[in-house]
C-alpha cells in the first residue's frame, strides 16, 4: 500500500510541475498577479509530494518490502541501518528520486529566500525549474519507476553493491546531486532573465550566492568521491579520469568560471552575455553528466547496466534543454546591453583570461571524454583516452591559470598601470621563484616538477598575503579584520582567500603524490619483511574475521621506521554474503605528510598473499585543498551584501508595525 502511495505522490508531483512550468511564467508575461502568485505554493506542493514519495521508498527499504522490485534488487534484511537508507539512492531509480527531491528542495529554497526579488522574476525562475522537474519526473515515471512491484516477492533482497557500503559513499551522491541540481538555479535565473529581457547587476547579485552554494556542494561531492575511491577501491588512486568523474568535473570547471564571471557582472556590469552563456553551460554539463552515467554509452568503472530506452530519453531531454536554451540565448542575447569597458591590464582582463582557460580545460575534458564515442561513431576504431593525455593537458594549462590567479586579486578593476602592478608583484615573484629553485635542489627533492609546483603554490600564497596586507592597511590593521568580517564584501574577500589557498594546497598534494609515491605489488608469506622508503613492512598473516553482513580475511601488517613501530594495519579481503563479490578494504595509516597504505590482493596458498604496499606523500593535501575551497565558497556565499535588501525590507516592515502599534494605542 505504501509503495502505491509513493507512486501516486510522484504522479501528483508531476501534475504540479506541469502547472508550475506554465502558469507562473505566462502570468509573469501577461501580468496576471494571481498566476504569478501560484509559483511559491506550487514549489512547496511539489516538495511535499516528493518528500512523501521519498519517505515511502525509505520505508520500503527499512521494512524490507521485497515485493517492490527496486528494494528486492538492492535491499537486504542483513544490511546495517545506515546502508538500508543509503541503498535508497544506491542505484538508478532511487538516485533519480533523490535527484527530483533535491530539485524540489532547491525550488523551495528559492521560494523562501528570495523575498527581496521582484515577484515576476521568482515566478519565472520557478517555472523554468518546473520544466526541468517535468523532465526528470516523467523520465522516472515512464522508464524507471522505483515503486514497480515484483510478483512473487523474493524472500531476501539482492543487497546494495558492497562497494557502496561505506559511510563516505552514503553521503557522496547526495552532495554531488546537490551540486548538479543546484546549477539548475543559476540556469533558471539566466533563462528567466533572458525571458524578461532585463539583465543587470542585481540579476548577478541574486544568482551569485545560489551559484556559490551549488558549486560548494559540487566541490564537496567531488572531494568525497576522490577520497572514497582512494581508500575503497584498494589501489590507492585518487582520480582516474573516468567518464563519470569527468562528468562531475566538467560542471565544476564551468561553475568555477561562472562564479568568477558573476563577480565581474555584479561589480562592473561587464561580461553579461558571457555569464549567461556559462550559466547555461554549467547546467547543460550537469545534464550531460547524468546522460553519460545513466545511459552506459561509455565504458566506465561506474557504469550501471545499459538500458538504451533510458539513454534515448535523457538524450532527447538533453537536446531539448541545450537546444532550447541556446536558441533563446541566440534570440535574446543581442538585446543584452554591453557593460563598462576595461583596459588590457585590469582585473577584468585577468578574470576573463582565467575564464577562457577554465572553459578551454572544460572543452578538453569533454573532448577526452567523448573522443571514444566519436571514434566509434566515425568507424575509426575503438579507443580509450588514457591518464597521460588528461594529465598533460592539465600540466600545460594550469600554470598559466595560476599565474593569473595570483595576480588577479592584486589588480584593480578597469585599469591598473603595468609598472605599478609589476612593482606590487615583484616581491611575490622573487619569493616564489626562490622557493621553487630551493625545492628543486637535489638536497630537497631533486625534481623539476616539484620545484615548479612549489613555485606556483608559493606564488599563490605570497600574492594572497600581499593582498591581505594591502587590505588590512586600508582597514586600520589587524583590528580591522573583525570589522571587515562583518562589512559588505568582507566575507566574499576572505572566502576567495581561503579557496585560493585551497588551490595552493591542492597543487602541492597532487604534484608530490604523483612524483614521489612508491608502490610495490609483492608476494608475502607470514613473517616476510619488505622495506619501502625507510619503512619496514612485516606481514604477520591473515585470519578469518566475521562482519555484520560479510566474512573477511583480515591481514595484520606492522610498519616500522628506525626500529620503532609506527603503524599496525589491518587490510581486509571481504566477501559479502549476498553478492559474493570479493572486496578490498585497505589498511591506511594517514598522516599530514604521508600515508602508508596496504591492501591485500589474493591468497597464494600456504598463508602467503599478494600484497600491495604504498608510500603516498602529501596525499591528504589534495582533499585538504578541496575542503578549503568548499569552506571559502561557503564563506563567500554568507556575505552580508546578499542579504542586504532583505534586511532593509524587514527593517522597514518592523518600523511600520511599530508605527501601526503606536497609532492604534
Amino acid at each position: 500500500m505504501i509503495p502505491e502511495l509513493g507512486h501516486f505522490a510522484l504522479i501528483l508531483a508531476l501534475c504540479l510541475a506541469l502547472v508550475q512550468a506554465a502558469f507562473p511564467l505566462i502570468g509573469s508575461l501577461n501580468r496576471t498577479p494571481s498566476w504569478v502568485a501560484l509559483a511559491r505554493p506550487l514549489a512547496w506542493g511539489q516538495f511535499a509530494f516528493l518528500a512523501l514519495s521519498f519517505a515511502a521508498l525509505v520505508q520500503a527499504f527499512l521494512g524490507d518490502d521485497f515485493s517492490v522490485l527496486y528494494v528486492a534488487q538492492h535491499g537486504n534484511t542483513q544490511l546495517p541501518l545506515i546502508y538500508k537508507i543509503s541503498a535508497v539512492w544506491g542505484a538508478h531509480e532511487g538516485s533519480l528520486l533523490l535527484w527530483a527531491l533535491i530539485l524540489a528542495g532547491w525550488m523551495v529554497a528559492v521560494a523562501t529566500f528570495s523575498r527581496n526579488l521582484p515577484r515576476e522574476m521568482v515566478a519565472r525562475v520557478l517555472s523554468v525549474m518546473g520544466m526541468i522537474s517535468i523532465g526528470f519526473l516523467s523520465f522516472m515515471l515512464f522508464t524507471s519507476n522505483p515503486f514497480d512491484r515484483v510478483f512473487p516477492a523474493p524472500l531476501e533482497g539482492g543487497e546494495l553493491n558492497p562497494l557502496l557500503q561505506d559511510p563516505g559513499l552514503a553521503i557522496h551522491p547526495p552532495m554531488l546531486y546537490m551540486g548538479y541540481v543546484g546549477m539548475s538555479v543559476a540556469f533558471s535565473f539566466a533563462i528567466a532573465a533572458l525571458l524578461g529581457g532585463k539583465m543587470d547587476a542585481a540579476w548577478a547579485r541574486w544568482s551569485r550566492p545560489w551559484t556559490l552554494v551549488a558549486w560548494v556542494f559540487l566541490t564537496i561531492g567531488i572531494t568525497l568521491g576522490s577520497w572514497w575511491a582512494y581508500y575503497e577501491l584498494g589501489w590507492g588512486g585518487w582520480w582516474f579520469w573516468d567518464p563519470v568523474e569527468n562528468a562531475s568535473f566538467m560542471p565544476w570547471l564551468a561553475g568555477t568560471a561562472l562564479v568568477h564571471s558573476l563577480a565581474v557582472t555584479e561589480k562592473r556590469g561587464a561580461f553579461k552575455r558571457w555569464t549567461v552563456l556559462l550559466a547555461l553551460l554549467a547546467f547543460s554539463l550537469s545534464l550531460l553528466g547524468t546522460f553519460l552515467v545513466r545511459s552506459g554509452v561509455l565504458t566506465s568503472v561506474h557504469a550501471f547496466a545499459t538500458d538504451p530506452e533510458r539513454g534515448l530519453f535523457i538524450l532527447m531531454f538533453l537536446c531539448l534543454v541545450i537546444g532550447g536554451s541556446l536558441s533563446l540565448y541566440a534570440w535574446r542575447a543581442p538585446s543584452i546591453s554591453r557593460g563598462g569597458g576595461f583596459d588590457l591590464v585590469s582585473r577584468e582582463s585577468l578574470l576573463l583570461g582565467n575564464n577562457l582557460l577554465l572553459v578551454l580545460i572544460t572543452a578538453l575534458v569533454l573532448l577526452g571524454t567523448l573522443a571514444p564515442l566519436l571514434y566509434d561513431a566515425m568507424g575509426w576504431g575503438k579507443i580509450s583516452v588514457g591518464f597521460p593525455w588528461f594529465n598533460a593537458m592539465f600540466v600545460l594549462f594550469s600554470p598559466l591559470m595560476i599565474l593569473l590567479m595570483g595576480a588577479g586579486p592584486l589588480t584593480r578593476w578597469k585599469h591598473h598601470s603595468p609598472p605599478e602592478l609589476l612593482r606590487t608583484l615583484r616581491v611575490a615573484f622573487v619569493v616564489s621563484v626562490a622557493a621553487g629553485i630551493a625545492a628543486a635542489l637535489p638536497l630537497l627533492t631533486g625534481s623539476i616538477s616539484a620545484g615548479i609546483a612549489v613555485a606556483l603554490s608559493v606564488w599563490l600564497l605570497s600574492t594572497l598575503l600581499a593582498g591581505l596586507r594591502q587590505r588590512l592597511q586600508r582597514r586600520s590593521g589587524i583590528k580591522g579584520l573583525l570589522a571587515d568580517w562583518k562589512a559588505q564584501g568582507g566575507r566574499a574577500y576572505h572566502g576567495m582567500w581561503l579557496a585560493h589557498l585551497g588551490i595552493a594546497t591542492f597543487i602541492i598534494g597532487v604534484t608530490f603524490v604523483t612524483q614521489f609515491d612508491i608502490e610495490k605489488d609483492v608476494r608475502m608469506a607470514p613473517g616476510d619483511e619488505i622495506e619501502l622508503n625507510q619503512y619496514l613492512f612485516r606481514f604477520e598473516g591473515a585470519a578469518p574475521h566475521q562482519g555484520p553482513n560479510y566474512r573477511a580475511q583480515r591481514g595484520t601488517v606492522r610498519v616500522f621506521k628506525d626500529e620503532r613501530e609506527v603503524a599496525l594495519l589491518h587490510p581486509e579481503k571481504r566477501v559479502y554474503q549476498v553478492q559474493t563479490k570479493p572486496m578490498t578494504e585497505a589498511g591506511i595509516d594517514a598522516g599530514f605528510m604521508r600515508d602508508i597504505y596496504v591492501s591485500l590482493g589474493e591468497p597464494l596458498g600456504g598463508g602467503a598473499w599478494s600484497v600491495r604496499l604504498y608510500y603516498k606523500p602529501f596525499v591528504r593535501w589534495i582533499w585538504l585543498g578541496g575542503i578549503f575551497i568548499a569552506l571559502g565558497g561557503l564563506l563567500a556565499a554568507s556575505d552580508p551584501r546578499y542579504r542586504m535588501r532583505l534586511r532593509e525590507k524587514v527593517g522597514a516592515r518592523a518600523a511600520g508595525k511599530r508605527f501601526g502599534a503606536e497609532s492604534t494605542a
Binding site: 565504458t299 568503472v301 557504469a303 547496466a305 588590457l344 576504431g381 575503438k382 593525455w389 593537458m393
Partner: protein, 143 residues
C-alpha cells in the same frame, strides 16, 4: 591605441592562443589514445607491434596460472574464435575471474601480451561494450 584597435589586438592574441592550443591538443591526443583489439585481430597481426593497445574478451576457464615466487600471472582471453595469452605483474582487480570479461592495457612482447593494467568492472552483470562487440557468436553464455 583606440578602444577598437585594442579589442582587435585582444581577439587576435586570443585566436592565436586557441590555434596553438588546438594543434598541441590534437597532437597529444593522437599519441595518447590506445586502440582496442580483439584476440582474433591480434592473432591476425592487425595490432601494432611497437605501441601500447588494449586487448579484451572473456578470460578462458582454467587458464589462470600463478608464478609461485612472485605476483606474476598468466591467463588467456578469447573472443570465442581465437585466444591470446596475457602476462601481468601485479594484483588482479577484485572482480577479475575466469569466464568473465576483462580488458588489459599493455603491449606485445615476443608473442605474448604484457599488460600494465588489467580492468574488470564494478558491476558483474555489466559487460564492457568493446568486449561485448568483440565476442563472436558462439558458445558464450552469460555468467
Amino acid at each position: 591605441m583606440k578602444a577598437r584597435q585594442k579589442r582587435f589586438l585582444f581577439i587576435l592574441v586570443a585566436l592565436a592562443a586557441v590555434a596553438v592550443a588546438s594543434v598541441l591538443v590534437v597532437k597529444a591526443l593522437r599519441s595518447n589514445i590506445t586502440y582496442f583489439y580483439s584476440p582474433s585481430q591480434v592473432v591476425a597481426g592487425e595490432a601494432p607491434a611497437d605501441q601500447p593497445f588494449r586487448i579484451g574478451g572473456m578470460v578462458v576457464r582454467d587458464s589462470l596460472q600463478r608464478d609461485p615466487n612472485s605476483v606474476r600471472v598468466r591467463f588467456l582471453v578469447t573472443d570465442n574464435a581465437e585466444q591470446f595469452e596475457v602476462v601481468y605483474d601485479g594484483i588482479l582487480p577484485d572482480l577479475f575471474s575466469e569466464g568473465q570479461g576483462a580488458v588489459a592495457r599493455g603491449r606485445l612482447e615476443n608473442g605474448v601480451f604484457v599488460a600494465e593494467e588489467v580492468l574488470a568492472k564494478h558491476d558483474e552483470s555489466y559487460m564492457p561494450p568493446e568486449v561485448a562487440d568483440a565476442m563472436k557468436p558462439g558458445e558464450y553464455q552469460a555468467p
